[in-house]
């Protein structure tokens, strides 16, 4: 059977593979290579070795973006997951109108980052009006603005994953615990939370990755203002490429470091879920 399928290899493989090569594979290889070149278009490169990587650190821009990004990602990861888990608990105890609430909480997740950014630009500036400032007056407003935005967008998303996890707990398990006299907090701590550990892993890493990759919301809400102080990694890389001539190579080197960071998070997640599967087996 394998042989007769292979006769049609071109038809089955090429449409996706050629597109993949054009959009991803070739640009990826070029990108890694060009991080060692000085260039303005991709064809006029001059080899400079590790120079671009060294030039990343001639100012504190990238380090600042990294620190801001880490703080933002950790804070929003914690708040989103606590909020989402709490809502998931509330929506799985058989209250009336559960489906309607789930529909509403999930809705912001479908709205695109640019639109989200401008919605919250209006609201946050509205709240800051009484102080006579705007969201770009001080980086702390931008920081908390982005955290609120991120929560609004992602709580519903993580909530549906937690709900799916909670609904998968066998009801005999909960009944048995209740017969044994477990109170609400024991039930939560000893039965529910351990049973949904896979959901917790998924949600933790999803929020981590999307926090580091955030771009559209950052651009639309603060565009990095004031003075690049609310710029996160993705936006910093974008501005290095397109905002400063002669820095294309540095932008590409930053992109390589950024990719390594994101890939490390993904590999950690993989290791986590592998270990859990082995423990379960």
């Amino acid at each position: 059977m394998q042989k007769s399928i292979q006769k049609y290899a071109a038809l089955f493989v090429l449409p996706a593979l050629i597109s993949f090569a054009i959009a991803f594979l070739i640009p990826m290889i070029m990108g890694v290579a060009l991080s060692f070149f000085r260039f303005t278009t991709v064809l006029d490169g001059r080899f400079v070795g590790w120079e671009n990587y060294r030039r990343i650190f001639i100012d504190r821009e990238f380090i600042n973006a990294l620190i801001f990004n880490i703080r933002f990602t950790i804070v929003s990861m914690i708040t989103i997951n606590i909020g989402a888990f709490a809502l998931a608990l509330l929506l799985t105890i058989g209250l009336k109108g559960t489906n309607l609430f789930r529909t509403i909480f999930f809705m912001p997740n479908l709205i695109g980052g640019i639109v989200l950014g401008w919605i919250w630009n209006l609201i946050i500036n509205g709240f800051l009006l009484s102080r006579g400032v705007t969201v770009v007056s001080d980086p702390k407003y931008g920081f908390w603005g982005l955290v609120v935005l991120m929560n609004w967008q992602n709580i519903g998303y993580m909530m549906v994953i937690y709900i799916a996890g909670i609904q998968n707990i066998p009801s005999e398990l909960i009944e048995a615990a209740q017969i044994d006299g477990a109170g609400q907090s024991t039930l939560l701590g000893r039965v529910i939370i351990p049973s949904i550990a896979p959901s917790i892993t998924i949600c933790t890493f999803l929020t981590l990755t999307s926090g580091f990759r955030l771009f559209d919301q950052n651009l639309a809400l603060t565009a990095g203002d004031p003075g690049k102080q609310t710029e996160m990694l993705a936006l910093n890389i974008f501005n290095t490429f397109y905002g400063r001539t002669g820095f294309e190579g540095v932008g590409q080197a930053k992109a390589v470091l950024f990719t390594i960071l994101v890939a490390l998070i993904a590999l950690t997640q993989l290791a986590f879920s592998r270990r859990r599967e082995e423990e379960a087996a």
């Binding site: 049609y8 054009i22 912001p108 651009l219 992109a255 950024f258």
Partner: protein, 280 residues
Amino acid sequence: MTQIRNRRTLAWALIALLVILALIFITPMLIVLMNSFKSKFFISSEPFKFPNADTFTGRENYIEGARKIRFFSAFGYSLFITVFSVIGISLATSMLGWYLTRVKTRFTTIVYYLLVFSMIVPFQMVMFTMSKTANMLHLDNPIGILVLYVGFGAGLGTFMFSGFIKTIPLSLEEAAMIDGATAVQTFFMIVYPMLKSTAITVAILNAMWVWNDYLLPYLTIGIEYKTIPVAIQYLRGGYGAVDMGAMMAMLVLAMIPIIIFYLVMQKHIIRGVIAGAVKG
């Protein structure tokens, strides 16, 4: 008796809490809607006030905004690119997913791992070289960009399709091929119909991504052909104040299709998103 009554009180208290939270979730969208009917001079100075006789402008912001960013042509481009990217991704990746699952060679293994790898790489890694490549290959138009979307969507699509195909028993396909069906016939008549639920998931995840995507269309076709997110960000312009009246109206117009799509397809969307999160 008192215990039951207490329980009921608690249930109502929790429902009241949920109602308040739900209102908090919806309010940002309603505030934007409300401001879209106010004169642009009153939006930033009193965003939380209802329009009154002085500030109400009717449809003016909608007309002005739609003219400024050519909203309806942006809507057309967004719709065209989303629909055909989704069709392209579903077809190309289901075929590749089947091939990679049924044919085991070193080549198929390498392709599979490259596709999985592409899912973790952030867009910033390839955005510069990709947009230059697209430019050189003349893919910088609404049809060419479909190739780019199929390329970027290839990872998740192939991964999800081949994940499902692994669970289908071989016997049906073998029987078809013994009866003389070619691989193409077998795929389209036997395999493809079985992929329906995965195809819906893949289509939904990709539709949400392509419709809302900003950077890829901005970098490749953004000057000539603006999709909705690109057109909205364009309102920010270079320097000076943003026309908040036009902005509010365009945000409303941008949200309406998404909300309709969501209310119609809700079940599929939530199921698809969960499947995507768990497998991705």
